[in-house]
Structure formats: C-alpha cells, structure tokens
C-alpha cells in the first residue's frame, strides 16, 4: 500500500455514476426486478389513476329510484362496487395510488435528505457535532413511533402535510445512525486520506469520495423510508387520523371499519389492502437487494 494512488483516486467518483452502478447491480437481483416492475406500475397508476377514475371519488351514486346506491357488489357500472356511502370503490381506489406515492416519496426524500446530512456531518466531522447529534438520536430512538405519530397528528391536525412532517420527524433518526457509521468507515479509507493530503476541500471529499461510496446505503434507507412512510400513513388513516380531504387506502379501510363493513364488503376492503401489501412488499424487495449490495458478505460468490 505504499504506492501513490493515481490522480483518479484523488479525484473520486461522481455521485451520478455510482448511483447508476448501484442501479445496474440492483437489476441483477430477480426479486428486485419484480419489485421495480410493481413499483413502476404503481407510479404509472399514480400519474394516470385519477384520470382513469370513472367518477369523482366522493360522488354519491344514486339508484334509479333516487336512493343511495350503497354497498353494491361489483357490477358493470361499478367495477369494484360501491361503499357504504354510495361512493365508487374503483374511483377511490385509483385516487389512492397518488396519495400513497406522494406520501411515500416526499417523506422518504425528506427523511433521506435529513438523515444523510446529519449522518455525514456527524460521521465526517465527529467530535462535538457527533456527540450532540448522537445524543439527539438516542432520545429520538426512545420515542415509540406509532403512538408518537398518533399524538403528533392529533396535535397538528390531520392533513397530509402534517402526516408527512411527522413521518419525517420519526424516521430520520435511524437513517442518520446507519449513514453515520458508513461514513465513519469511509472516512478512514486510504484514498480519502490521500485526497486530504492532496489538498482537497471537505466539500470535495464529501461529494466525490464519501457520498458516492455510501450512496447504496442512502438508497437502501430511502427505499425503506418510502415503505415506512406508506405504512405509517396507512396506519394513521386506518385509526381515523388521516387527512379527510384526500382518499388514501388506509382511509378507505377506516371507512369500511368504522361503518362496520370490514368483514363483509370484500370488494371494498380487498383492493386497498392488496395494493398496500403489493406496494410495501415491492419496496422491501428492492430494499433487500440493496441490503445484499451493501453487505458484501451476503453476496453470492
């Protein structure tokens, strides 16, 4: 190891190229491909879903006799039947895609960003900054998540923005820890020392050496955060703390639950449940593949 590293080693890698490498590796994992495929369909439906919806999600469907068309099983006019409030299940279901994806993505980006910033600052600079940040995460880690979310949403009021905010507050802590320990390892690498010796700035080192090498861990964490965010939003909505002005799957289930139709109106309960399971599972499948990437000992030889 006494060789002088060449210029390339000091220059480091761009974030983009290492992200691309990581994605290429990801697509070598069959399960991850399944996950990405499902996710792609979900993203597509999130974009076009509301246009596909045959009715306004809250529009009351009436029968010919002027009564509310409640709890109708699937039929030609309502492919997935109607709710106890005479709403078209299919339309609500299709609107749910966008809500789930928005909550998942926005929360995960926020979580990913905050945990990366905290993790990198803490891990790279260490010392006082590290101490303070780690004590903060210690405290944050002792707060039970769902109960905290329940209290916080009750406090802030049930809106999608607040739910995203609460999810961000909840999940940055785990990510910051994971990323910090990854940064700690990277910081000690020989090429980082060389880059330092060659006069590279902290910013350069973080952007070209540290970040590209922890990008998989960040991806892993962001993927998991999307899943956590969607699950948390679904749980909150299911408990009746969701945003009443949007249709989310958790909310659909809550309405079925609070109107006492959970165990009979399968056409109302199965689509949102199944969509949640598929979406979250596909994220976990992708996350698992990143996990195997980040842990070389798990990789097959």
């Amino acid at each position: 190891m006494t060789q002088v590293p060449d210029q390339g080693a000091i220059r480091g890698r761009s974030l983009f190229s290492s992200a691309r490498d990581s994605f290429r590796l990801l697509m070598e994992d069959n399960f991850a491909v399944v996950g990405v495929a499902i996710l792609a369909i979900f993203v597509l439906l999130a974009i076009i879903g509301p246009w596909l919806a045959p009715y306004e999600p809250f529009k009351a469907m009436m029968t010919e006799t002027g009564r509310l068309n409640r709890l109708s099983p699937p039929n030609a006019t309502h492919l997935l039947g109607t709710t106890a409030f005479g709403n078209d299940v299919l339309s609500q279901f299709l609107h749910g895609f966008r809500v789930a994806l928005i909550v998942g993505l926005v929360a995960a980006l926020a979580v990913g960003f905050i945990s990366t910033v905290f993790g990198v600052l803490s891990g790279y600079f260490g010392g006082y900054v590290d101490d303070v940040l780690m004590r903060l995460t210690d405290i944050a880690l002792s707060i039970p998540t769902l109960p905290f979310a329940i209290v916080a949403v009750a406090l802030l009021g049930p809106s999608i923005e607040n739910i995203i905010l609460v999810i961000t507050i909840l999940f940055w802590r785990n990510g910051a820890r994971i990323i910090r320990s990854a940064v700690l390892t990277e910081r000690e690498r020989i090429y980082v020392k060389w880059a330092r010796a060659a006069g590279a700035s902290h910013f350069h080192i973080i952007m070209r050496h540290i970040l590209p090498n922890i990008v998989r861990i960040v991806f892993l964490w962001v993927t998991m955060s999307v899943a956590f965010a969607i699950l948390t939003e679904a749980s909150l909505s299911f408990l009746g703390l969701g945003d009443p002005t949007v249709v989310s799957w958790g909310q659909m289930l809550n309405t079925a639950f609070s109107s006492g139709n959970l165990r009979t109106a399968w056409w109302w309960v199965v689509p949102p449940s199944l969509a949640l399971v598929l979406l979250v599972s596909s994220l976990y499948l992708i996350g698992r593949a990143y996990e195997e990437q980040t842990n070389p000992r798990l990789r097959r030889r």
Binding site: L68, F85, P158, G240, P244, N254, S258
Partner: protein, 541 residues
C-alpha cells in the same frame, strides 16, 4: 380538495357564466368579488357524515358563484374554539346531539341564539329576540310560554342568522329471537334513555341478561362526576322524573311536582322506595343530595344545576326545591336529571365527594332499577336487576360491552353475543343487518339532534340578510340527508326548534323550498352580480 371544488364551481358556472355574459350586469356594475369562504365541520373522527354533508351542501352553494375551503375541525377544538370560543371564520356545518335536556326549546332558542349566550357561535345578537327567549323561560304557565316560544321562532326565521339542515335519525338493532318489546326512546338517542327500550324489554329465552354492544367505557359510577354515560349511571341512581317518547315528563322517583311559585317546586316522592342496601328512600336523602350538589357545584353537572338554589324538607316524602330564577324548563331538564344519593353513605364521607371512587368504596348504592355488579376497565360493565324496584326489569341484569369499534359491534350482534346495539354502528349498517339477518330487528329513532348551518353574522357577506336567505334557499337539505347521512337523517323543518320537539315547534313557519335559481334571484335583486367566470360579486357601493 379545495381546488377540486373550485374546479367544480368553475365548470358549473361556465354555463351560467355564458348566460351572465348576455345579461345586462356588466363587470363595471359590480363590487368586489365575494372571497373564498371557509366551511368548518367535524373531522372524520366523528364519522364521515359531516365531511360528506359539508361537501354536498357546498356543491350546491357553489352554484351561486361561491368557492369554498373545506376545513375539518376536531370535535373538541370545534366546541372550544368555534361553538364557545367565538372563533367561527365564515361558515360551519356540524351537529348538536339529541341530548335529553334539549327536549326543552330553551337550548335551541336561547343557548344557540341569544346575545351573550355561551354557545352562540354564529355571533348573531338581537336585543328584542334575546328579550323574548329569556322571558319564555320564566313563564311557568305552559300555554303562555308556548305562545312566546312560537313567536320567537317566527322572529328568528325571518332574520335567518342560521338554520338547521337535517335532523338525525338514530337506530336500535336488537336480537328479536331473544328479546321482545324493545321500544323507541324517540326523540332522545337510545343511549340516554332508560324506560325505552331498556326497562321495557322482555326476554324470550333463558338468557335473561341483556348484553348491550356498546362503544366505550363508563368513566365513573359517581353520579356527580360522570358526564358521558349519564343514562347508564341513572340505571343505578333514580331520577325524579322521566321524559317519555311522547315528549311528556312523567313521574319516576317523584310521584308528583308543582310550581308553588315561579321559584319554588314542591316535589313528592314515590312511596315505598328502597336503596340497594335495603334502607328506605326519604325526602332527607333527596334534600341532602340537592344541597350537596349545590354546595359542591360539580363541574360535570354545572349546566343543569346552575339555577338551583337549594332544597328543604317538608315531610318524609315531600320537599321544596328553590330556584335562583324562575325556570319553566326545570321540570323537563332538571327533574329528569337529578338523582338521589343515600345520605347514610355520603354524609360522613370526609374526602372530596365529587372525586370519590365509589367502586373502590363499595358505595355504588342507589335506588335505581339495577344494582352494580362488576366493572372490567374498557371491557364490560355488569348490573343486576334490583327486584324491589317499582319498575324492575323482567330480566336478570344488563351488561355493557365496551367494544370500541363498529366492526366488533357488528360481529357481536351477528354472533349473538350482543343483544342490543344503539350507537357507533352506523344506522344504515343496522338497517342492513336487520334486513339480512332473521334474528335481528331494527328500529328507527327520529331525534331532535340537528345538523346546523352556521354563519359568522358579524362578517360580510353574512351580515347581509339577503345573502343569508339566498344561502338558506340553496341549502340542499334533501341531498345532505340522503348522501351525507345515507338516508338516516331527515330534512329539517323551519326555524331553530326541531320538529321533533312536538308542540314546541312552530309549524306555521313558511316553508323554504330548495331552489338554486330562486337563490340567484334573491342575490340579483339585492344587487349582487356575476363576472365572466361566474364568480359572485358584492353589489356596487
């Protein structure tokens, strides 16, 4: 969702907008546009009906060229900020429950409408009206009072500071294979009743315990502190009178009562009553109870006892209740609420009587038709029939199951574990279940619970009577009842007092039929106009 409604309003007004273009009203003849209005309503934790109703109503109002911002508000914030706190921004769509004390018109006329009344969240103040509704309360002669009550309604209806949209329909679902004679407590919601359906029910089988598939726990068996499960605690502690389903107040622990002067009511107790521990119930106990609550002013009781001055014994079965001010509603709201504590269990209690843990002390002793048996927190409450009671039930006991959610209540009713359900499970679901299952029967309880449309009467455009009336004409009561409440509400009658209050309601008020065009006409006549986008503008100053 705001944007969605705005979009809806825009498309709707497109057609009317074209008409408006041809109309003589040109943009330069118009004042400022009417700003977006906020509609507050109970958030979904109170059930989806409010959301749904607010949406349906605003859809129709949007056709007047208005746009709305939907603002779900949690129940408790709604009460403290909007109803009591005076924080109504623009409009509110919300319900007041079918509480038993609201069978008296005072609540509707005075509490929700008089100047300075604490629950006048619509912030309308009219001295003449306030005078009227204060006066009616003091008229202990019923026909005089009735006339003034009707007059006040007329006055209110003409001004239209707010109006009801629907009256809530409650329901009872019960197991008709096992129980007979389950009667309706209308207009009071079933959870507050006592005779109907509870005491009248008759068992058909050997299962002689009535299981009530309920939602939540009872907080305490100390009647001075309980505020949620008042009716349940009155199973154990007798009240002096009851309101029946015809709207009459009938004797219960009291055999008779009369106003000896506007501030004194002479009450005679029923003979031969006993407490659960075998001691006789006397006027001493009643006087002790009344004087104790007057002295302690338990917060949970404050609304009912505010006007009580005290009581004094006349003889073993007779006592006088003194009022601070003449109060005609005393009979319907207070005699049916006050209870009798056994003096021998309470007189020597040194601690804070209001906070007393009566279960731990073994002091859950009243004279009511049921005796306390057991309480498992957040699970079950069990009461036994008190056979010596003058109106003892024909079965052995009643259990209240705290199931916490509609789905479990449904499951309990289907499996036969629950015998009767009266809340949380939406009325529509009750009706469906009864239709689908032979062993279940369903009873509708039309109640005086009302969904109200409130306006901020101190803020434009609601300061303008024409604008208020136009909104009233465009209030889609029928749609709200069907789409918002799934048909388990009825379009409300006119005036502040619900039709369900029987004679108290003034049936001669002119009906206001739903008509969007008529509403637009009212606005137009008052000088309002629409711009090219169909947006409503104030009259030019």
């Amino acid at each position: 969702m705001t944007t969605k409604i705005r979009r809806l309003a825009a498309t709707l007004s497109l057609s009317t907008g074209i008409a408006a273009l041809c109309a003589p009203a040109m943009a330069q003849d118009l004042g400022e546009p009417v700003p977006q209005l906020q509609i507050a309503y109970y958030a979904a934790d109170m059930g989806p009906m409010y959301e749904q109703s607010a949406r349906v109503l605003s859809e129709e109002w949007a056709k007047l060229g208005l746009s709305f911002q939907m603002q779900p508000v949690q129940f408790s914030s709604f009460i403290s900020n909007i109803m009591v706190g005076g924080g109504l921004e623009d409009m509110a769509v919300f319900t007041v429950g079918a509480d038993p004390d609201r069978v008296d018109p005072t609540y509707w006329l005075h509490d929700l409408g008089a100047c300075g009344a604490r629950r006048n969240g619509a912030k309308w103040c009219d001295e003449a009206y306030t005078e009227m509704v204060k006066k009616q309360r003091e008229l202990v002669k019923q026909d005089e009072r009735l006339q003034l009550v009707h007059e006040a309604q007329k006055y209110f209806h003409d001004v239209a500071p707010w109006w009801p949209a629907t009256n809530t329909v409650y329901g009872i679902l019960w197991n008709s294979d096992k129980w007979d004679n389950v009667t309706s407590p209308a207009p009071v919601a079933a959870h507050e009743g006592l005779v109907d359906p509870w005491l009248s029910a008759k068992p058909k089988t050997d299962d002689r315990i009535l299981d009530w598939a309920h939602y939540e726990d009872v907080t305490t068996y100390n009647p001075m502190a309980e505020e949620g499960a008042v009716g349940w605690v009155r199973f154990i502690f007798d009240t002096f009178a009851k309101n029946n389903s015809k709207g009459e107040t009938v004797p219960w622990a009291a055999a008779a009562w009369e106003f000896t002067d506007p501030q004194t009511v002479k009450v005679t107790l029923r003979e031969g009553m006993k407490f659960h521990d075998g001691e006789a119930v006397t006027a001493d106990d009643a006087v002790f109870t009344i004087n104790t609550v007057v002295e302690l002013q338990p917060p949970a009781m404050s609304s009912r006892i505010a006007n009580l001055a005290g009581a004094e014994k006349v003889d073993d079965l007779t006592f006088n209740v003194k009022l601070k001010a003449p109060d005609a509603s005393f009979i319907t709201t207070v005699l049916t609420y006050l209870f009798i504590l056994p003096e021998h269990h309470w007189a020597n209690y040194d601690g804070d009587k209001v906070a007393r843990d009566v279960v731990a002390d073994g002091a859950v002793i009243g004279s009511g038709p049921f005796k306390f048996k057991s309480w498992r927190v957040n699970e079950t409450h069990e009461l036994e029939t008190f056979a010596e009671h003058f109106h003892a039930a024909e079965y052995d006991g009643v259990r209240r199951l705290a199931l916490g959610q509609a789905d479990a209540i449904r499951s309990a009713m289907l499996s036969g574990t629950g015998d009767i359900a009266s809340m949380v499970l939406p009325v529509a679901a009750m009706s469906d279940l009864a239709a689908q299952n032979d062993h279940l029967d369903f009873l509708e309880i039309p109640s005086h619970g009302s969904m109200l449309v409130w306006l901020n009467n101190q803020k434009a455009p609601f300061t303008d009577p024409a604008f208020r009336k136009a909104l009233r004409v465009a209030t889609a009561k029928q749609r709200a009842a069907i789409e918002g409440w799934l048909g388990f509400a009825v379009p409300a009658g006119e005036g502040p007092v619900p039709v369900q209050l029987g004679m108290w309601h003034n049936s001669e008020l002119p009906e206001v039929p739903f008509d969007v065009d008529a509403a637009r006409k009212i606005l137009e006549d008052a000088g309002y106009g629409w711009d090219g986008q169909g947006r409503l503008h104030f009259p030019k100053k």
